[in-house]
């Protein structure tokens, strides 16, 4: 845990060839809960595909290291200041403390409701929040805020990526299994929406429970849950992942499993090998002594976005940097092969999705052939016309 609390300060050096700026420090805050069930060691032990592999501060730390030389060239020190609290109210206190000290850019590593509360409370303030670990669609739709940006893909982007893949394989009829948690329903709803959008047929939508109770056998037993009319694939919506990991090979029919297990749509995967990914994975593994997953990538790219804006604007002025981060000119390199930027209508980072199994990336979405009039990555998630966000 010592490493987590470390304050990373990158000192500016004398060697300057790019336009010289006054020696300046830009500090990013990293807000996280003291106890976050999503990173519970006991659950992470199972390493199911629905879960992160550790706290994403590591991703931000890797990005800080990468910014060292470019900071030197510009005469800017980049620093990262982690702060923790028990709940949203406590995080707000931490945020105010850092804001008073001049911090304007914050990475927020918290579940959707906490992110929503922080964003509501800071609307209109001179700051930017980067949501790095909450995939909730609502944060990009009704609950969107102008100062809240999202680097983690949302449920709709994941669902669309998988739907495109199923369509490309002509696996057109799908059985949807849905868990009892509120977040399971969000995942299931997103997939139902994607199925409709891409012309997949939902054969049935069935609720599962984690139980050996014989009275709930038809909901706890995968074989019984997967009987009935035929389908091409099973989509399992399980935010927790404990049920999902038992679905492959237990279905009554020999059908592939996708969603929260089997084949998942991820922002990042440790087995991704292209566009410099092995080097990035190596850096994260050296930093955190574990593999890299979605929230790590989201935290990493959030820091990279701020650094890129400082480099290109040659400024550390908040308004200048914030405008460039959210603007159309920015080119972010997410090591996924595409130029990334934030969608102006809901502040979601547009990006390719990696469709991955436990140890391989099978395909990258948008899948070839799914075209968009402006940017093919906008076939994933909420395009402008789907947006219910008004800032």
């Amino acid at each position: 845990m010592r490493g987590l609390c470390k304050l990373f300060v990158v000192l500016a050096a004398a060697v300057v060839s790019a336009a010289a700026m006054a020696a300046d420090t830009l500090t990013l805050g990293f807000l996280a809960l003291e106890r976050d069930a999503r990173y519970d060691d006991k659950r992470l032990h199972f390493r199911n595909l629905a879960q992160p592999l550790g706290v994403p501060l590591a991703g931000a730390e890797v990005a800080m290291r990468e910014s060292r030389f470019v900071g030197q060239a510009l005469g800017v020190s980049f620093a990262l200041e982690p702060a923790r609290a028990a709940d949203a109210a406590g995080l707000l206190v931490e945020l105010e403390r850092l804001h008073a000290a001049g911090v304007r850019f914050f990475l927020v590593d918290a579940p959707g409701p906490v992110v929503a509360e922080l964003a509501r409370a800071t609307r209109g303030r001179a700051l930017r929040l980067f949501n790095v670990s909450a995939p909730d669609d609502a944060l990009r739709q009704e609950m969107c805020q102008p100062q809240l940006l999202h680097t983690l893909p949302n449920h709709a982007m994941q669902a669309d990526a998988l739907a495109q893949y199923l369509v490309s394989k002509k696996w057109r009829s799908v059985l949807l299994l849905e868990g009892p948690l509120a977040e399971d329903k969000l995942i299931a709803d997103a997939f139902a929406q994607a199925a409709q959008r891409f012309g997949l047929k939902l054969v049935d939508r069935r609720a599962f429970v984690l139980s050996n109770d014989p009275r709930q056998r038809d909901q706890g037993n995968v074989a019984l849950l997967t009987t009935g009319p035929d389908y091409d694939a099973v989509f399992v919506a399980d935010s927790d992942g404990e049920f999902a990991r038992s679905v492959p090979y237990r279905t009554i029919r020999p059908r592939p499993v996708v969603g929260s297990e089997g084949l998942v749509a991820a922002a990042w995967h440790w087995s991704w090998e292209r566009h410099g990914a092995p080097q990035l994975n190596g850096r994260l593994e050296r930093q955190a002594k574990r593999r890299m997953a979605d929230p790590d990538w989201a935290a990493w790219i959030a820091v990279k976005a701020v650094v890129e804006a400082v480099v290109r604007t040659e400024s550390t002025d908040f308004e200048t940097v914030a405008a460039y981060v959210g603007g159309g000119e920015i080119i972010l390199d997410g090591f996924k092969g595409n130029r990334l930027s934030f969608r102006p209508w809901d502040n979601q980072l547009r990006q390719p999705m990696l469709l991955a199994t436990h140890n391989a990336v099978i395909e990258r979405a948008p899948i070839q052939g799914f075209l968009h009039q402006h940017n093919n990555m906008d076939t994933l998630g909420f395009d402008r016309r789907d947006s219910r966000c008004s800032f």
Partner: protein, 328 residues
Amino acid sequence: MKPKTVRTALVATLVLSLALAPAIARDTGLIFVSSENDNAVTVLDGKSYEVVKAIPTGERPRDMKLSPDREQLYVIASNDGRVDVIDIATLAVTHSIDVGDDPEMFDFSKDGSRFYVSNEDDALVSAIDVASREVVAEIEVGEEPEGIMMSPDGRHLYVTSEVANMVHVIDTASHEIVANVVVGNRPRRFAATPDGAEVWVTNELGGSVSILDGATHEVKGTVTFEPRGFRADEVTPVGITMTRDGKTAYVTLGRANHFAVVDVASREVRDYVLVGSRAWGAALNRDETLLFVANGLSDDVSIVDTRTNKVLRSVPVGRVPHTVVIDD
């Protein structure tokens, strides 16, 4: 440690015998293509373009260059952290030089006594003495150094850092970084005008070439590419080569499956030429009548007539061709 001593002795004997051997291997006309996924260098006949041999190398062979006397071919084997040296007369690896983790590109010093390698994983540039085959210096640079080029006068070494979007300019006498120059996004490889006044660097994600002033180390121009029918996102320039007179640059455009012919003086794109899938490596033959382009995802090499900018033919090579070297 003992086996190492034995190996060093063996290698030393080998060097001696090679040094005494008569120079017979120049200008064979052969074309060498490194094949990343075959762990081999594919050798093509210079006239028929038939594969005459595949020379086994270390894992993931990538950048290649002829030794200054043109008798040997140096090949980076990235996954083995070494450079394999191929004797062109016998078409076999004679020895290997350990160069540190995950090397990708390299270049020789002006007198050929050293070469410099980028080590992507360690954020280092290593200088290797050719005679002793030892790493004689390590220079710390930004994360993911990749492209590397010696200035024509040998005074500066240019290194790209993919993640910092910078070019490091290193003084070859002191091994100090004298400038960190911010360029376009994901800078990859270099070419220079013969007088060293302009250093061109491709920006893979930026879809452009940044032009550095060789004297002031400042960006003094940018070339952008707009081949018909492609979106900006699909134009990913990586490979670059320049004619000896410094008048024409050839820039491969990666996912756009084209290369661009650029007039160096006016910085205008004169032509876009369709080649294979993910065009990266580019090399001219000695009289500069032919351009060879390695197409990484279609496993072939396009051979282009530089007078007409027409593709004469595409020849199959190994899997994931990276670099082409012509010994003509």
